[in-house]
Structure formats: structure tokens, C-alpha cells
Symmetry: C2
Subunit: 284 residues, 2 copies
């Protein structure tokens, strides 16, 4: 299978648009990948902007597709959703030696791995930033307007990729993001495994450090539930808030949502405000 061929795995009509799952051979990740797309009805006659959604630990493209209720709003706003998997997949892809949920398959952490045996496949940063947009923008009715969002590990990915590539996106949002992985257990495990012991290398994947040092910025919206099991230790939202204070003039909003947890019930409750936030910036 050539890397340029998109094979349709499934298609469903939803809210007048199309929810499609594709398979392709990824040159960046050296394996077959699946991802999902929602195309609103407008995409039948015009190129539409896209929100990229990066999912969290243990997820693939189906969690957000089936649980977030995002298609209703994307259909109304005329926005596509591009929903990649969270790691390379397949028999040839190295996994954590104990098949842990927080490292390896389902847990690519949106970095470019440098360490064996992971470097061959775990190049999720490049896949999300370059290969996937090039592929879908060449073959689907998408404009080059992009926003990026995600949940937990995917919120980390959205913040990191967006903050490092402000020319590629118009806005960033995140639910329950891992804000400061260099100082939290999930992050330390992943960054050690993928990048090795040199902590200088880790810093390029730490949203709080990147935000502190950012010279150009995008509009940012973050929601964090106060009843989240992983708050505050794994997520370290306060470090992101501290970093945001370096940029008082910027359009950065970090909201605590009282009583909400880490689940898709939380995401479904607030995805509408995230998509309306992105639409405002994608369409200006």
C-alpha cells in the first residue's frame, strides 16, 4: 500500500455530514495507521477548515468519534474534525515490556522518539504536524486552516505542537492536559523511554516551559475538571497557569470546571465551547 493511498474502512452519516475511518501506510511511523475524519455537509461543495483532535492514553480515534458529541457542533459550524490514533500500531511496533497503559502502544506522547527500539516507529510529533495534514489536505476537501485540541496526553500534544508551530495553527485548546510532563510521573516515564536520560531533550515537549518562553502565541483555551483523579499530580495545571501569567496580553483562558472528572462525560459537556472558540479563529 502506497503512503499516498487512503483506504476507507467505514463511513456513517451523522448530523448531515460524514464520519469516515481511513487506513493508510505511514511513511513517518513505518506502519499502517487508522484515523477518523468528520466532514460537514459544506465539504461537498467547498474546502473547510479542520480541528485536529489528539486523544489521551489508551485511546484510539474511536473514543472521541463516538463519545464526545462533537459532530453536532462541527456540522453546524462547517468544520472538519481530524482524529488520529495515539501511537503507531501493529505487530512490528515496539511496546512497553510490561504492556503498560501509559507507555508504548496507545501512549505515543506525541514526541519524536530517539531511543531504540522506539525511534523506528514512535514519531508521532512529525506525523501529527506534517504527514497527516499533508495527506488529508491533498485528498480531502480541506483548506489549510487548522486548529488543534486534545485530551490529557492529547491535551499535552495539542499544546506542545501548537506552541511550537504557531504559523501552522490558528488556535489551541485542551481538556485536562498534562501541562508539565517533565515533573510528573506519566511524563517522566514516557520522556525517559522515548528520549533517554538527557533532560535537556525533554524540554521541547513541556507545555509549561514552552509557554513561559513563547515569543509568538496563539489563542489558547484549557478546561480542567476539579474532580479529575489525575489532578493535580499528573496534570500540574498550576504550572501552566503560572506560565500563562508571563503573557498577560495574550488570549489565554484556563478554566477550572467544578465537579467534572477526566472522562468523556466532561469532554462532551464542554466540547461545544471549544469548537466555537476554534471556529471564531479558523474563520477570521
Amino acid at each position: 500500500m502506497s503512503q499516498d493511498i487512503l483506504t476507507k474502512v467505514s463511513e456513517h452519516l451523522v448530523f448531515g455530514g460524514k464520519q469516515i475511518r481511513y487506513e493508510h501506510s505511514s511513511n513517518t511511523l513505518n506502519c499502517k495507521m487508522q484515523f477518523s475524519v468528520f466532514l460537514p455537509a459544506e465539504a461537498e461543495t467547498a474546502k473547510v477548515p479542520a480541528v485536529y483532535w489528539l486523544s489521551g492514553l489508551t485511546c484510539n480515534d474511536e473514543n472521541f468519534s463516538s463519545k464526545a458529541g462533537a459532530q453536532r457542533i462541527a456540522a453546524e459550524l462547517g468544520i472538519a474534525l481530524i482524529i488520529p490514533d495515539t501511537s503507531p500500531r501493529g505487530e512490528g511496533v515496539a511496546d512497553d515490556e510490561n504492556a503498560a497503559y501509559d507507555f508504548g502502544l496507545g501512549a505515543g506522547f506525541y514526541v519524536n522518539a530517539t531511543q531504540a527500539p522506539f525511534a523506528k516507529n514512535y514519531q508521532m510529533y512529525d506525523y501529527i504536524l506534517n504527514e497527516l495534514p499533508q495527506l488529508v489536505e491533498a485528498q480531502l476537501p480541506l483548506s489549510d486552516k487548522r486548529a488543534i485540541s486534545g485530551h490529557s496526553m492529547g491535551g499535552h500534544g495539542a499544546l506542545v505542537i501548537g506552541l511550537r508551530n504557531t504559523e501552522r495553527y490558528s488556535s489551541i485548546s485542551a481538556f485536562s492536559p498534562i501541562c508539565n510532563p517533565i515533573n510528573a510521573a506519566w511524563g517522566i516515564k514516557a520522556l525517559t523511554g522515548f528520549l533517554g536520560e538527557d533532560k535537556q531533550q525533554w524540554q521541547q515537549y513541556d507545555a509549561s516551559l514552552l509557554l513561559t518562553e513563547a515569543k509568538t502565541l496563539l489563542p489558547i483555551l484549557v478546561d480542567q475538571g476539579t474532580a479529575d483523579n489525575f489532578f493535580p499530580d499528573q496534570l500540574r495545571t498550576e504550572t501552566l497557569i503560572t506560565a500563562a501569567k508571563q503573557h498577560e496580553q495574550a488570549d489565554i483562558e484556563i478554566r477550572y470546571q467544578e465537579g467534572y472528572d477526566h472522562s468523556y462525560y466532561f469532554i462532551s459537556s464542554f466540547i461545544e465551547s471549544h469548537l466555537r472558540f476554534h471556529a471564531k479563529h479558523l474563520k477570521t
Copy 2:
């Protein structure tokens, strides 16, 4: 565990209301059962009406809870959702000898079984009609106003239970219901297994026959996708339409939705109009 005790398995805040999963010991089904409930914020200060949702083959209470996007609308309308499992469960409960998806566990068909070894547990008709409402109305902030809805096998259940008990519900709706099970493969298999060969016994569970013969009626709304894999052979929507023509003055609407399939993507696209339909009747 006494039959009157509700044990909370999980709770999530969603759209300002509570999504709760309970376990209890069912006297009707002779086993432990789990079901889910959505309680809108209004339920903290007043008794609210409820829509019962009956799920389809292979499902339990989690499919609708996580995929339909119903809580957003129920929260707005101040309506509870009561979401039972689709069959008795547990090691002691008889299953299909080949563990088929369309009979036995996950496929109770909302009948009262008369045949061994199923009669001991498979009393889903009585469970949905009597035990479950009595339990939740005694222990949760629910009024005695009820509507009933469901999908596929659960659409069949909603139509059958609603049509036979018009004094207990204010309205009925269904997505992709099995409309005439006595003449379709899924239905014939289930009715033979649960009720035996006497086809007279089957008729009490056939929505098209019940509608044809109905003397009192409730408002009914049905949606059927035209790209549904099980349409028309298993679902036999046309027989329900023919039966509805016996009642030209009644409030019965059966809609074909062009291009939609049998999935939760279809349900999520139209659940809002179903819940608004039920709210209109629950609140008058």
C-alpha cells in the same frame, strides 16, 4: 444484597447533571443487574419525569449512556434518563448454546420467557414495566411520568411495552425498531427460544399486530434510516406503517431518514427530536 438496595457503581458530572450507574439484585430476573441513570440538575430540588431507553442486541446500559449525546438535551429539558441492560446477566444465567449475538445474554428481547432454561431469568418485560420503575421511583427523585424509547430490539421493546400499557407511559418512540418480529429471522429465533413453538404466544410481542389491534393509543414517533443494513428484512418497517394507517387520527409519525444507518451515529443525530417529543407529552 436485598432487592431494594441500589449500589452506586460510578458517577460522573455531565452537562450539570449526574450520570450514575447502579447495581441491584433483581427479584424479577433472579440475578444482579446494572443500569444507568441520568439525573438533570432539577432533580436536586424536585421530582422529574423520565424517559426509559431500551438498547439493542449486544448492548448494555453503557452504549446509549456514552454514545447518544442524550444528556445535553435531557439536562436542558429537565428529564431523567433510565437506561437498563438488555438481558439478565451473570454466571447462573442461561445463554444461547452457541453464545450467538441475537439470543440469550445481551438479547433478552423484552419478553417474559416461558421455556426452560430461560424462564428462570429472562423476564425482561416485567422488569422494564414493573420492577425497575418501582425501584427507581421509590429511591430516586422521579415523578411517575414516564416515556419509553429504544433502538432496534429496544425499539421493539419500547413499542410493545408502551402499546400494551398505555396507562403507564405518556409517549413512545423508537429508532430502527424490529416492527414485526413474528415474521423476521431475529424475532422468530428469539420468540421460539423464549416462548416455544405456539405462535399464538408470540403475538403479544409483535408491535405491528399490537398497533393494528390497539384501542387506546399514545403518541408515537419512529425514525428509520434508509441505509440500515437490517432494513427492511429484519425490521419490517412497512408492516408498522400499514398498521399505523388503521389509526389515521392518532399522533403517529414514522419517518425515513435518507442515508442513515443502524449505528449510534444515527441515534445521536435524531435523539434531540425524540427527547423534545417526549418532553412535550411528559410535561402536559
